[in-house]
């Protein structure tokens, strides 16, 4: 994997931060990218407070709960996110349109079963925009779909005893309307 050869981002400072994943992959990322991961930012700030003289280039931040696979995707997403934000600094609407377009394209390359690990990684890294984005992606994937479809989508088995589901449905009879064809 070509993690070390991340192309330099002209919009951010040249400071690099090194992240080490649970499967021992090492990622060198721009400071601006790493700072979007609040967990990393926190670690970095704490380190700096404890040891003011230590240069950033030597800091290696371990991420024991994140694997290299979701991290690579999150870094890509984050870089693009920053880029779009920088390109549309004074036009929120344009930024939203660009972001929406990018996210739509992005999701085409993400398998549904990957969303879970992306969400967990974004959650651990405390990268709010990505967490919201992936959670929203799951929500829109199941919106207007039948229960059976969603079970299949999530790989869930119904564990209701006979009659239990019906009882629940009775309670919320009104909500069971307006479902799309699968």
């Amino acid at each position: 994997m070509s993690n070390q050869s991340e192309s330099p981002n002209p919009t951010s400072s040249s400071n690099k931060i090194t992240l080490k994943t649970s499967d021992n992959e090492v990622f060198e990322v721009e400071e601006a990218v790493a700072m979007k991961f609040c967990t990393v930012k926190q670690y970095f700030d704490d380190e700096n407070n404890n040891n003011v003289t230590s240069g950033t280039s030597t800091t290696l931040i371990p991420l024991p709960n994140v694997e290299s696979h979701p991290l690579a995707i999150l870094i890509t997403y984050c870089k693009k996110h920053l880029e779009i934000k920088a390109n549309n600094a004074d036009n929120k609407k344009e930024m939203e349109i660009d972001m929406e377009h990018y996210e739509r394209e992005f999701l085409k390359n993400v398998m549904p079963q990957e969303l879970t690990e992306l969400i967990l990684a974004a959650n651990y890294l405390n990268f709010k925009e990505a967490l919201d984005f992936f959670c929203r992606a799951v929500a829109s994937a199941i919106q207007n779909k039948s229960v059976e479809y969603v079970r299949k989508f999530f790989g869930l088995e119904s564990d209701f005893k006979p009659g239990e589901e019906e009882k629940l449905r009775e309670e919320f009879a009104w909500s069971f309307e307006g479902v799309d064809e699968d």
């Binding site: 004074d90 929120k92 919201d132 999530f154």
Partner: protein
């Protein structure tokens, strides 16, 4: 491109490793909050774990899509749902398109109380009904507007802000939105309805970043007391007047708008639509010779109008009063219903030839020094107001000495049809015309998108 292929190859390496069940409840609550509440409830049927997950979703949003006979079912459903909700903290609470009548007053009271009791941060209330009279509108208690958890408040359609305790002098209803937590406020008055609402809305929100006033505001007035943190403000409202009071309303509307603009001098981005622009035109024509508008610090100006003849003096007023302007956006949106009714005598006295309008204007400070970007959005080669657009574009290119780019976005039709040969030819002709205009900035690029 490289990034995409990169992530693609890592994606295909893994299959079916993870399942939604690996996620902790807190994240599932978050996912459910992105769904309309009725669908979040439906997720209960997935499995036992999902049974009551929705009752902790961080947001609730209800959308009334029943026909009008079943409004009561919707109201009851919302109440029933709220009764089961168990989280103490509610990030967002949205009611969309609820056809309110006075019989639902206690229901809406309950929803609003529920939201505030759960420290709601983002509240959106859309209560719409074109068939009720204004004294039947839902009266929203002032205490909501001052609730300390609220960060975003959007009130749409036929709402009456109401202060139960205090009736100002002359029996006017003074509503104070006084909040240090509020960051975004949208007041939308809806459309096409007559109202006797004389209320004065006082806004004092030192942390407010975005303010939008739109729709029919009838005779409401606004007083912005402390809005020092605003970064954007949108003035897209209209006020109403009757024939017999037009004389006094002219000056009232003028003073309403002047006061608003004066309180927004520090705001970097202002959006203004047809009606407000035309009131500003009145002001420019009648008063500006004696008293020029105070200078604003704004950097970005957005005009939501199709550019009508009587917008033009108002636009010059804004350009004159924005010496630091760096970006100008014109959203060419239809403004058929939102024009100001000018009196025939006024039109007689102050009529001008719009073709010559810009030619007679000299430059403005912002054009000489700062304006770098112009965007024209929704451009059509064949439309009624083409000459207005071309006149303005010509003027800008001629005088904007530091202009870097002018981007003209062609209007896209929803049908996504490819243009006919005739249309394409017309468009080409107009683009050639625009490109032939004299430019005072040597580096200016004109783009058509």
């Amino acid at each position: 491109m490289e990034e995409r292929s990169n992530s693609n190859c890592v994606c295909t390496k893994r299959h079916n490793l993870d399942r939604i069940s690996d996620l902790p409840d807190s994240i599932l609550h978050h996912i459910l909050s992105f769904l309309p509440t009725e669908e979040a409830i439906e997720a209960s049927y997935l499995s036992k774990r999902w049974n009551w997950l929705w009752t902790f979703a961080s947001g609730l949003s209800f959308y009334d899509h029943q026909d009008s006979e079943h409004v009561i079912d919707f109201a009851v459903y919302v109440c029933k749902t709220l009764h089961l909700y168990r989280s103490h903290k509610l990030d967002k609470f949205h009611i969309t398109d609820f056809r309110y009548t006075p019989r639902f007053e206690c229901y809406v009271d309950y929803w609003v109380d529920f939201a505030t009791a759960h420290n709601v941060e983002n509240l959106y209330l859309e209560l719409g009904n074109t068939e009720i009279l204004d004294y039947d509108y839902y009266k929203l208690s002032q205490s909501l507007c001052t609730h300390s958890s609220l960060k975003t408040l959007a009130l749409r359609c036929y709402l009456r802000l109401y202060n139960f305790e205090f009736q100002g002098k002359e029996g006017k209803n003074v509503v104070t939105i006084n909040s240090t937590s509020l960051q975004k406020l949208e007041l939308d008055g809806g459309k096409d309805l007559w109202s006797e609402d004389f209320s004065v809305v006082v806004i004092s929100a030192p942390n407010l970043r975005s303010l939008s006033i739109s729709g029919f505001m009838y005779r409401r007035r606004f007083r912005l007391k402390n809005v020092s943190s605003l970064v954007e403000a949108k003035l897209c409202f209209e006020r109403t007047m009757t024939d017999y009071e037009r004389e006094s309303c002219y000056s009232k509307n003028r003073s309403v708008l002047t006061k608003l603009l004066e309180s927004l001098l520090h705001v970097p981005k202002i959006t203004i639509s047809t009606w407000c622009l035309q009131v500003l035109s009145l002001l420019t024509i009648l008063e500006v010779t004696t008293l020029p508008s105070p200078l604003a610090e704004r950097k970005c100006l957005v005009l939501d109008t199709e550019l009508n003849k009587w917008d033009l003096p108002g636009i010059t007023n804004l350009l004159q009063s924005s010496p630091d302007l760096e970006k100008l956006v014109v959203n060419l949106v239809p403004s058929c219903n939102s024009k100001l009714e000018f009196k025939p005598e006024f039109v007689n006295d102050y009529n001008f030839d719009h073709e010559e309008f810009w030619k007679s204007k000299s430059t403005f400070e912002c054009l000489s020094l700062h304006l770098k970007t112009v965007e024209i959005v929704g451009f059509k080669a064949k439309c009624f107001g083409l000459s207005f657009v071309l006149g303005f574009v010509q003027f800008l290119l001629k005088h904007a000495r530091v202009l870097e780019k002018m981007v003209i976005y062609e209007k896209r039709e929803a049908t996504n049809q490819t243009p006919t040969l005739v249309e394409a030819h017309e468009f080409l002709q107009v683009t050639q015309l625009i490109l032939s205009y004299q430019k005072s900035s040597p580096n200016a690029v004109v783009m058509f998108i």
